[in-house]
Symmetry: C2
Subunit: 343 residues, 2 copies
DNA sequence: TGTTAGCACTCTTCACTGCTGAGTGCTAAT
DNA sequence: ATTAGCACTCAGCAGTGAAGAGTGCTAACA
């Protein structure tokens, strides 16, 4: 069922006005501000149709109309002007990233800050999923008589450490040899595989080091397991409270509770598969966010998706703007990752 | 100027009732619930005195009294029952920490979560300040032909990594030798000193490696500088909104804005010197928190303060409870740190 | 047949009103 | 020094009515 082109224009007008004002939009407003050559009475008739079709709703009899989730969906998929990213924004993001060096987690945290400050909504971000990356180098270092340190570097440039206490004073050469053996055997495996791996088959290679292996390996695997869940960040929680829809304290409370639940955020960010996805209102699996829209995008390394970022806001969201910012940001993220970490 | 003992009792009654109910406390309430053998009229007279002395205030003529900052201060310093930590809470904290292994930052993050969930306020925490700890071991590892990795372990068990791209393919033995030289020269120095150090005096020791040094050192120092600022965490932001004082959206907004400003939180947590400190209302240097109270405590390693944690809430805070929880938590933190990281 | 003007109707919002209850300060009696 | 009693103050609440926004319907018009 396709809408007449005038109905489309009216729906678009209603949505864009509502996005800007957060006030129900009346027929008069549409007639005066958007479709000046049509009278408000005509608009009224069309609006009644649009309501019947489920694209807009009326909060109460004497109010204007507001878009429904279905309306927003049509808008995002067909009506919205796909505005290319503002050149200025693009430059800004690029520049901000240039200045951020250091650990990759820090980069993602910064990305989250950028997203929230540029969109004025709340951003969420997931650091690279360690388990999806592959072992590139492993080295066991002696710190002192009782502490050894396992350093793991993966292809996405993630580095993880694990301090292991050892009862015996192992000499450096031994550790080097063990490092070499492990490196040979394990190189290129994903951390996910590695954790599940059956190490008994290593038996042949480790003649003479068996005792040390049985002391170190479990600790190492344990540490890997603990690193499996990626860090989750959010930023700009205060932005939400600027919006009129969150003048209701209860709603603000519910929203903040979601942000405090790392598991929930993880599920949200982990669920993303497409490059960029827009989830509107009740489309959300997480029922606490059924009044929110969520725009997420993934970032990749070596063709593999390793993490994602997103923006959460009211369904009355500046979709066009946010989508372009999120897109641009992940684009830059991909660039930087592939550049920093080229072999 | 010392209060009569009955005035003290009345002040205590007012404060404790107000802490529980968030409602101004009237003379009748005090007489009925706390000092049953004195009439409300007498209480009224005493309350008028207390108000004149500045310990309590009246929101408006026909309301009861609420404590002033000065009142809370007296209460915290002299009136409050210094309740020892609940044995159950202590066990709980201990147990929670036992289960948390892994990186020290994760431990602190967990501590923050614990604080907010046990106190029902918002917690803030600063991970160990890298720069205040001393170099224990430094090792430079070859990852592949173009990437080398510097691993730095400090006495507090903090491990930092820095991936350095190198134009030349340096062989492993060379890196080992460089590691040894640097270790010898730099062991025991605090990171703070290290960053400021003049490396030209190394010249003699590095015959033959000079070119490599000049490539690696600046990168290494840069990475150290970026790690200088400790991570800041907060948790339980949603708890605040449960409190009636934050039904005013504007106040909630102001508070969230503080949490979003890492620099501000850093200043707050960095300012702490005493073991445990209680800052009430306008005593706060940060003007955004002049309606809040802040209870902070430090944790140490090797006798040096390396970080701090805190709880932020309304001035109407359950001081006794929070102080005991914060104390207990840092106590446990100290224990764990000294145990985990003993040489 | 699609469009428009006009009008009665609905419903929210806001300002105003008067009432109630909580709490006070003062006074006079104990 | 303490207490009972009383007049007074003020926030909060419910009720009221007017104003304004927006609608749906009808009848006229191109």
């Amino acid at each position: 069922m396709s809408l007449g082109s005038r109905k489309q224009l009216i729906l678009q007008a209603i949505i864009e006005d509502y996005i800007n004002t957060a006030e129900p939009v009346g027929s008069r407003t549409v007639s005066k501000k958007y479709l000046t050559d049509v009278s408000s009475a005509t608009i009224r008739n069309e609006m009644a149709d649009l309501e019947e079709m489920g694209y807009i709703e009326q909060p109460h009899t004497s109010a204007g109309r507001i878009p429904s989730d279905k309306g927003y969906r049509l808008y995002v998929d067909h009506l919205m002007s796909q505005k290319a990213i503002n050149q200025k924004d693009n430059d800004f993001i690029r520049k901000e990233f240039m200045d951020t060096i250091g650990e990759i987690d820090r980069l993602i945290k910064h990305a989250s800050k950028l997203l929230s400050s540029m969109t004025k909504y709340t951003s969420i971000a997931m650091a690279p999923q360690f388990k999806r990356t592959c072992l590139k180098h492993l080295q066991i270092i002696k710190v002192d008589s009782f502490n050894i340190l396992a350093v793991i570097v993966t292809d996405a440039g993630i580095v993880k450490n694990s301090v292991i206490r050892s009862e015996q004073d192992i000499d450096i050469d031994t550790l080097d040899k063990i490092s070499k053996i492990l490196n040979e055997k394990l190189l290129g495996l994903s951390i996910e595989e590695l954790v599940k791996m059956d190490f008994s088959e290593l038996d042949n290679s480790i003649n003479g080091y068996k005792q040390i292996f049985t002391e170190i390996l479990p600790e190492l695997l344990q540490a890997l397991k603990y690193s499996e869940r990626a860090e989750i960040y959010y930023d700009g929680a205060a932005n939400l409270l600027e919006l009129p829809e969150y003048n209701d304290v209860q709603k603000a409370k519910d929203f903040l509770n979601v942000l405090d639940e790392n598991d929930l955020l993880f599920d949200i960010l982990n669920d993303v598969s497409k490059d960029t996805s827009v989830i509107i209102g009740k489309e959300n699996k997480v029922h606490q966010l059924k009044n929110c829209s969520l725009i997420t995008a993934t970032y990749s390394f070596n063709g593999k998706i390793i993490g994602s970022v997103g923006v959460v806001g009211p369904t009355r969201m500046k979709y066009s703007k946010v989508i372009s910012v999120v897109d641009c940001l992940t684009q830059n993220l991909n660039d930087i990752l592939s550049k920093i970490i080229k072999t």
